[in-house]
């Protein structure tokens, strides 16, 4: 499994390099009539400055709204997606509006505009490289490349789908696309599943970011732009910026705040979804809550093992590990919530998955870190009771009871017939045998250096055994008595 991810990692790294290379080459857009008009318009230097500014503003506004839908991150996509990109591109592009493509072109052209143009234009420049992520928006269904010539990544596909779902506010989009792909045999069931996860995640991010952006836009629209622009000028041509871009407005804030933001969002979402999820979560909170609420990790209280693990990482040097773990855990929780929200899994499945996750954490911690989380461990197979595991005794007891009456009658005959002759013979034999046993015990205990064997204990044991043998019909009553008598006389 790891190798697969490694492969994708390499792929992604290549992308970074590739795109980096592209920054110095001017991306060549393919032409279309509409875009050409825009193109030409933009090139005219004689256009009044005001007009240009006005246009730039409108474009920027459009870009911003497009941005807010941009990929929050390239996700941990499965590499199987890569080969399916092209056909995905095709089918998605069919439904895609071409609005964004115009903006893309506009931005590209601005690359040539001299510096005295207003700073929004240079911002667009950075947008350029950002928008390569959105390359599929470009209205050329035949192109398998982004506008700057780089091929689409799997993440782009995921983003596309997430965007679409978000735009249309309809999960059915996903189902339609997936079923189409499955039908065409382009993806397997497994790939469909993992795609679902990623899309859900991307969607979650979209929603989160959108909420943030909406907040921010409402209040400090222009001021933020400026701040953002300055940052962007400093920002390099790294095209993996987009996610950071979205947070640029809040760049001054600490990263911790981001966590809190996530927390808030999570809580907010949690509230929404709890209602949606039939209050299953509520039930669980009551049951699984053995952890304090004070440290702001509300969701994590449902995971006693995980919490223990966190607690064990209390020292300073573990702080980063702790943070990472928390982030990961929260993301996983979000995963599941998203799944539940979108009906991919039932709430019960989600709950049981998370419960299993918690149990698994305990196990993995034990295995990998070598420490126990302080929770009871599974006992080994040594706790067996001393009763025999085979049911010879129970079976025979059953059979004994069945034939008890008959047996009694036959038993009566035997002893009377033989006892008169054999009784002295029998007792002698038994006596001999018992004597040998005692002798051996004496010798054995002496050799071992133990004190004299416990005769009374032996006697009790033998009495018990004799009784059970009589019960099972292995020895007759009088024989049993003889034996007991012998032991009694020792």
């Amino acid at each position: 499994m790891a190798s697969k991810y490694f492969g994708l990692f390499v792929l992604v790294q290549l992308f970074v390099l590739e795109v980096d290379n592209q920054t110095f080459a001017f991306p060549t857009p393919t032409a279309s009539t509409d875009d050409k008009a825009v193109y030409n318009r933009q090139l005219t230097e004689e256009r009044p400055l005001q007009e240009q500014i006005a246009e730039a503003d409108s474009v920027k506004a459009a870009v911003q709204s497009a941005e807010s839908k941009q990929p929050a991150a390239f996700k941990d996509a499965e590499s199987e997606q890569a080969s399916d990109d092209f056909t995905m591109l095709k089918s998605l592009a069919d439904g895609q509006k071409s609005k964004d493509s115009r903006e893309v072109l506009v931005k590209k052209e601005d690359h040539h505009v001299p510096d005295e143009a207003d700073s929004t234009k240079s911002r667009r420049l950075a947008d350029d490289y950002d928008s390569t992520k959105n390359g599929m928006d470009y209205d050329d269904t035949e192109s398998f490349r982004q506008v700057d010539g780089t091929p689409l990544t799997a993440e782009d596909i995921v983003q596309k789908i997430a965007n679409k779902i978000y735009e249309e506010d309809d999960r059915g989009v996903f189902d339609r696309i997936i079923s189409k792909l499955l039908k065409l045999g382009l993806i397997t069931e497994n790939q469909a599943d993992s795609l679902e996860y990623q899309v859900a995640e991307a969607l979650q991010d979209l929603i989160t970011k959108n909420a943030k952006n909406n907040e921010v836009e409402d209040t400090e629209n222009i001021a933020q732009d400026t701040g953002g622009e300055q940052d962007d000028q400093g920002a390099d041509m790294d095209t993996w910026e987009p996610r950071k871009r979205s947070y640029n407005e809040e760049e001054e804030e600490e990263e911790d705040n981001d966590d809190e933001q996530i927390e808030d969002d999570v809580d907010r979402d949690a509230e929404e979804e709890m209602e949606a999820a039939d209050n299953t979560w509520d039930k669980d909170t009551e049951e699984g809550n053995e952890v304090g609420q004070g440290d702001g990790l509300q969701d994590l209280q449902y995971f006693p093992n995980f919490y223990q693990l966190l607690r064990s990482l209390n020292s300073e040097k573990d702080a980063q590990e702790r943070e990472t773990l928390i982030t990961i855990m929260k993301t996983l929780i979000d995963f599941v919530k998203m799944m539940v929200k979108y009906g991919t899994i039932t709430p019960e499945e989600g709950v049981s998955y998370l419960e299993n996750l918690d149990a698994m954490i305990a196990m993995q911690t034990k295995n990998k870190l070598g420490k126990s989380l302080g929770l009871p461990e599974v006992g080994g197979p040594n706790g067996k009771n001393m009763d025999e595991d085979d049911n010879t005794k129970s079976e025979t007891a059953k059979m004994q009871k069945e034939y008890e009456n008959l047996r009694d009658s036959t038993k009566e005959e035997q002893p009377t017939a033989e006892s008169t002759l054999d009784q002295p013979g029998k007792s002698e034999t038994y006596l001999e045998a018992i004597r040998k046993n005692i002798e051996w015990l004496k010798k054995h205990n002496k050799d071992d250096g133990k004190d004299d064997y416990d005769l009374s204990k032996l006697k009790d044991f033998m009495d018990q055994q004799v009784e059970s043998y009589i019960e099972k019909g292995i020895i007759a009553k009088d024989e049993g008595d003889t034996i007991k008598r012998i032991y009694g006389s020792l």
Binding site: I328, V378, D390
Partner: protein, 468 residues
């Protein structure tokens, strides 16, 4: 010089003397030990009561290592008695292999019955006399000895007047059923499965039900089947009379012909097991031994062993039933040309077979053995242990323990169970002792979780590297 020569001569004389002393001394010791080991063993036929008494005496003498129990009743209500010997009688200790001897399923084949009574007494005596081999054996094995599976038949055979006993009287049980043809015929099923595909082990489906509702099964047969299902026997032997050879599966021929070598998947191991018995019996392993009867066809006998089908086809036998319905490997031991020989020959038969009987029990400690557990250390019972190249799987018992008898060689052993990922291990198996191979199986759920974790790890790494 003469002084030295003189002392040399004296030395030589002394050496000669001491040599003789040594020789006589060792002879005496051998004699003494032989007499000693057979002390307390009576060499006469035991009827049912005497049999019971004899087993009881062994128990009274060695109560800490023996236990008497019964697996059921014969048709005429005699107990099918078993004497169990182990350091913890009455309990299956996880990892300790279970062994059984059964004799006298044909009531008139009497030598085996007597040999097993002798064996019980012998093991008890030797244990108390500090015989280390026996002590080790009893501590590491759970040995079950059933001197008579057909006590009713024996009574009938033994009640015949006169010295010469009939070849057939007392052979079958009180209902006239030949117990060694009375077991469900699983050979037929395995042969079909070999051709058309199907299970290669544990072929008796719905065991309890099939057995209890089958009116054709004699009570003795039923009792033994239940016994086989309840205890995870690993190795067994079934004692008969009327010839002298160690016979191994399969007994029933594949094509139905009367004589045909019918090898089982474990043919190599079975040959090794059969030889392990025959080689200590001077009569059985004698290559120049004349056949028991002039016109007997013993062409299939080699080194004192024979494949069952190659000798003559036997359907419904107990030997094959063991192998095909459970994990137990069983062979059939024919121990005397005479089925019911004169009483004064019993001592000789004992001497001929004593070492073989002990050595055969030792064979249970061969091959590969161990435990199958999950990653939390819980035993996985009924997991399948399969060996590459041998089309016969065995299963783990309740504690996850298994014992897979194998001849020396290099093997790939796989442990699998539903819901778990299979693990394969390579093992080099010596002749003995058994090689310990444990398995820890990861459940599919766990693997899925692992993959999910890897996913998250990867994502974390990605995000760290790419800085957001």
């Amino acid at each position: 010089y003469a002084g030295v020569g003189g002392s040399c001569a004296l030395l030589r004389h002394k050496m000669k003397q001491s040599f003789w002393v040594l020789l006589f001394g060792s002879a005496l010791i051998v004699l003494a030990s032989a007499a000693g080991s057979d002390a307390g063993i009576s060499f006469e036929y035991h009827r049912y009561e005497e049999l019971r008494k004899a087993l009881l005496s062994v128990w009274l003498q060695c109560p800490t290592i023996t236990r008497i129990y019964t697996i059921g009743e014969s048709f005429e209500r005699r107990e099918l008695l078993v004497l169990e010997m182990s350091d913890n009688p009455g309990t299956h200790e996880p990892g300790e292999p279970e062994f059984k001897y059964i004799a006298n399923m044909h009531g008139n084949e009497a030598v085996g019955r007597e040999l097993l009574i002798n064996l019980a007494q012998y093991l008890c005596n030797q244990y108390q006399q500090e015989n280390e081999t026996i002590i080790d054996l009893i501590h590491n094995t759970r040995i079950h000895i059933m001197p008579s599976m057909n006590p009713d038949g024996f009574e009938k055979a033994a009640s015949q007047p006169g010295e010469i006993k009939d070849w057939f009287v007392g052979r079958s049980n009180a209902q006239g059923v030949d117990l060694n043809r009375n077991f469900p015929d699983l050979d037929r099923i395995i042969y079909i499965n070999e051709r058309e595909g199907g299970a290669n082990n544990h072929l008796l489906q719905n065991m309890k039900k099939a057995v209890d509702e089958n009116t054709k099964l004699a009570p003795e047969t039923k009792a033994v089947i239940h016994w086989i299902m309840d205890i995870p026997f690993v190795l067994s032997a079934n004692l008969h009379g009327g010839d002298v050879v160690a016979n191994y599966p399969y007994d029933e021929t594949r094509t139905g012909s009367t004589h045909e070598y019918s090898a089982s998947p474990d043919d190599e191991m079975f040959k090794s097991l059969a030889r392990a018995f025959s080689m200590y019996n001077p009569v059985m392993s004698d290559p120049h031994r004349p056949p028991c009867r002039k016109n007997d066809d013993d062409s299939s006998f080699k080194d004192g062993i024979t494949n069952g089908g190659a000798w003559y086809s036997v359907p419904g036998g107990m030997q094959d039933f063991n192998y095909l319905s459970s994990n137990c490997f069983e062979i059939t031991l024919e121990l005397s040309c005479d089925k019911f020989p004169n009483e004064d020959t019993l001592k000789t038969y004992w001497q001929q077979n004593r070492d073989s009987l002990v050595n055969y029990i030792e064979q249970v400690h061969r091959g590969v053995k161990g435990f199958v557990r999950d990653l939390q250390g819980n035993p996985i019972s009924n997991a399948t242990i399969s060996v590459e190249g041998i089309d016969h799987d065995i299963t783990t018992a309740k504690d996850g323990d298994y014992w897979r008898l194998l001849a020396p060689g290099n093997y790939k052993v796989a442990a699998s169970a539903p819901g778990y990922l299979t693990v394969i291990k390579k093992v080099a198996v010596p002749y003995s002792p058994a090689t310990r191979v444990d398995f820890e199986l990861e459940s599919l759920m766990e693997r899925k979780e692992e993959e999910r974790e890897e996913l998250m790890d990867w994502w974390k790494m990605m995000s760290e590297t790419l800085n957001f």
